[in-house]
């Protein structure tokens, strides 16, 4: 069971996970990561833009790679775009598998790629000013773990 989409409005991760788990009967484990907008120093809002012709197809390609690499029964990826406030979810990735290692590693893999190899651009509003978020060296290092 594959559920991949962009969310243009606030979503509640808890409402996704129950149906996702139900949709994969016989699973041994399900791992879920939810990322939220942090209450960082003076952050008033966060905006994620994307490029429609690349973003969702890129998420589907990422799902293909996760299914090829791990022994998965189901994969859910929901990523917010648009304007968000601190405390709101940005991303929810959930993987169902017979064995825990596959589903935990698949979530880890998808998050590292969504973070630094998917077509999203993030900016934060602090003190009324928007600031683009640059990719971090740590993100590139996280991604490199899956190569070779």
């Amino acid at each position: 069971m594959r559920h991949i989409r962009l969310a243009h409005q606030m979503f509640i991760p808890g409402t996704l996970i129950g149906p996702f788990t139900q949709a994969n009967p016989g699973l041994g484990g399900v791992c879920t990561f939810v990322g939220e907008v942090r209450y960082d120093q003076g952050v008033e809002a966060l905006e994620l833009t994307h490029y429609e012709p690349l973003t969702l197809p890129g998420m589907h390609e990422l799902a293909d790679r996760a299914f090829a690499r791990f022994d998965l029964m189901g994969l859910l990826m929901v990523h917010r775009v648009g304007l968000m406030r601190p405390g709101e979810p940005i991303v929810c990735v959930s993987a169902a598998a017979l064995h825990r290692r596959d589903c935990i590693d698949a979530v880890d893999f998808c998050m590292d790629h969504l973070k630094s190899a998917a077509w999203f651009w993030k900016r934060e509003k602090r003190g009324g000013q928007w600031h683009w978020i640059e990719p971090r060296a740590q993100d590139a290092a996280d991604l490199a773990r899956w190569q070779g």
């Binding site: 490029y51 012709p53 690349l54 999203f120 651009w121 993030k122 900016r123 683009w132």
Partner: protein, 83 residues
Amino acid sequence: MATIVLLGKLADLADAPSIALPLPRSAGLDWEGLKAALPTPLAEALDDPRVRVAVNGALLPDKMKLQANAGDEIALLPPVSGG
């Protein structure tokens, strides 16, 4: 006319999310032609090797080999920061 779509901070450099570039129906647009047609700060930012280019939703393996025509959508994609 070709449409230039500007993502992330590149949109700030042009003060707009997209630019309509006049382009005769018969004429093509290459990489140098594109840069010459854009505001200087934006054109300079494109030299960053991390900036990728897509034409009509297809990523170019080598942006320097851009070949676009009237009616095309050219997306300029700076380094991403998602999740």
